[in-house]
Amino acid sequence: MIPANRKISAYLGIQRADGTWADLSHYLTQTEVELGDVSLVGTGNAGVDGRVRTLRFSLKQEGDSFSPRDKNSFWNTLNGEYSPLLWPNRKVRFDAIIDGVSYRLFEGYLGDSITADGSCECRDLSKRLQDCYIEEKRIYGSENGTPAEDVIQEILDDNLGEGEVELYCPVSPGFMVLTYELDYMSVWDAIQQVAGQFGWFLGYRLVDGEFKLILMEPPRQKDTPDYVLNYEDDIYVQELEINDADVRNVVVVTYKDSETGQRATVTLEEETSINLFGRRAMQIEEADTSLIDTEEEAERFAQAALDDLHDLPAVCRIDLPIFPQLDVFSTIQIHNPRISSTEDFYAVNSVRHTLDFVGGKFRTEVIAGGKVIGGHAIWLRKETRPGAKEPIKEEDIGPIDKIENKPIEIVDPSSGIKYSMDQWGFVAVDPNTEEVRPYVNRIAMGEASDGDFISLDFERTPQVKVVPRGLTTYNPDYSTDKQALRVFASDISPEGFKVNCKLIVPGIETIHGQGDNLRDVGDYWISPYTHPNTTSCLVSIRAWFRYDIWARMYNSAYFVYRIEEQPLGSSIWELVGEWTIGSREFNNNWLQARAFSGAKTATHQWDTSGGQKRIKLTMVDRYSLDPGTGTMYWGEMYVRVNSWREVSDFVADTGDVSWLAIEGGGGG
């Protein structure tokens, strides 16, 4: 069936702001097109439930950068103006090309995730409908009933513009919608609500080489295979898992009849399934405001649920050579004597196509069940559990975002300003000027004296301001010398900072370059001796981190380091201090590992008793708070003295300060 020797290539195009297409095929390293969850058999959202296709791709950096913030990159320049290529809502097309034949696997929009290294996540054309929120209450349907497909088209036209998105409905469902009011939900949810009343598929599918928003009845009665596959030629791996937990063979739908005004019940049963699995009933309580308000509609609704749930759910996971023709609702016949003694019929519920040009993997993975279904999880979500009230749907709760560990973002449609809030604070970003306005997460303030260490116990490194409130600005004992104020905060970390408030007679200041990179516990670096009469030192520390983070996990790396000083002629190292510097990051992605690398810095200032000294930096410990959550590249991570400064100032007086520490959104 699938030829044993094929030539593979791919096309990835991204539409620029002026409508032209940039061909990035040459830079493509990996791509995945997915409809539904193929990682699990029998559970999770199937492609027939999700109805939204996603594309993830990675690009190799070669020559100009793909980072949207690189204004000098060729990719981000259009007619001499800055116009980033990888940017939300740029249209994306992806084709797999096999033996010269092109198969369009994806068309959609960028925006779900864009990284500087050229890794992106995209959603199909439904993104536009999901991002569009219905802001104005409108009445749809009519007293005598309006065809559902007309109602869907009206919703699209009212909110996206006349004819902007055309619904393709080759066969009318024959479902009439009576008058109802629609408000405050996304356009996508609103049209799915209509299609959900009669169990039809509504989503983007390839029709005549073009992705169209199609309303279609899932071919539930289809029993002829589109493709015949066998274990000798076509299947790398096939796994079978049988789980009857989600079988339902009796469906009871309660609804409000529009003629009688009374609540009524329709019950449908599937005898064959009852004989096989025993009686498994489910009840669906439709609200009084439901579009289902006649016996015929309730029966049709119950029949759709029964058709989809009376048999074993998705039972088979198959790993094939890339086979772009496979999509949800495709049917296949499989001959694999290792799994079954018969030639079995399956229908595809979820599908993922992977083209990995770096890893050398060109595969199609499918989750398939014994028959075509129009949904699985969507029906079970409607089920009323015994003893429970009518299930609360998302649309009943209203327009709230799910609480997840990801920034909540709101865009002001009038100005375009994006407000985002995460656990660290609140930030507003103006898309026109790219101005970032961080807002405050936590503030602490107080008064202190020179040399005091202020404990904060913040979670992020704060911005600290100190102003003198009591400090002599002139000491007549040194009237012939130049005098200066030194008021600043040092040793700033989430734990706190040190206050410096001095009147000094300036001496010589010498700045030195960086020291060795310390990677292993016990590694140390010693500076040359300072000049005579050094009265204070300021050391800038830099730490570099690199680690991977597995999906939905934290990973971290920390270095504990010690600074000591040794007077000339002494063999004793005197402790200046011991500190910890670290990095902890979370991977929001549900599917992919995240690679993190980045630097953290710290400064330490201290006064010395004068005389020539030398400084020693020692790595005392290194560790992760989250072992086993991703690869640690300890060999590349380091801590070092980035620069250090010696000063032979003479302190003429010390004083007090008022201080303000701010932990803010968007801050480090």
Binding site: I2, A4, N5, R6, K7, I8, S9, I98, N230, Y231, E232, D233, D234, I235, Y236, V237, Q238, P321, I322, N336, R338, F357, G360, K361, F362, R363
Partner: protein, 124 residues
């Protein structure tokens, strides 16, 4: 004497041996029934070149150029390709370059710092 290889127009003189290899880029695996099948993206060639002892300046001409282009792609020509304009875009990985310091007489002249080069040229 004409050399038998060039990179970005720079002679790689006195090549006495060339080992040609081919790399399969694609997905090759056995099906559940044991049959070997493959999906091919491309086959890329690589050439491992070995030279006789060269004068230091001859070796440095190539090595300095590679460093100047950050060991990036260049136009490779081998006498097998025919006309000198029949070049292939290739990369010479720095880690593939083996440089042997030898003392030898070249054309009757003693060279205490001659070089024998061995390097691999890979089709991009």
């Amino acid at each position: 004497m004409a050399s038998s290889a060039r990179f970005d127009g720079i002679d790689i003189p006195l090549v006495y041996a060339v080992e040609i290899e081919r790399e399969f880029i694609g997905d090759r695996a056995r099906t559940a029934g044991g049959k070997l099948r493959q999906d091919l993206v491309a086959v890329k060639r690589s050439w491992q070149l070995h030279t006789r002892p060269l004068r230091l300046e001859q070796a440095n001409q190539l090595l300095d150029h590679l460093e100047a282009i950050n060991y990036g792609p260049g136009d490779f020509w081998l006498d097998d390709f025919g006309f000198t304009w029949n070049t292939i875009k290739c990369i010479i990985f720095p880690e593939s370059i083996h440089e042997t310091h030898v003392e030898v007489s070249i054309n009757g002249e003693w060279h205490s710092n001659a070089r024998e080069l061995s390097l691999t040229v890979v089709e991009v």
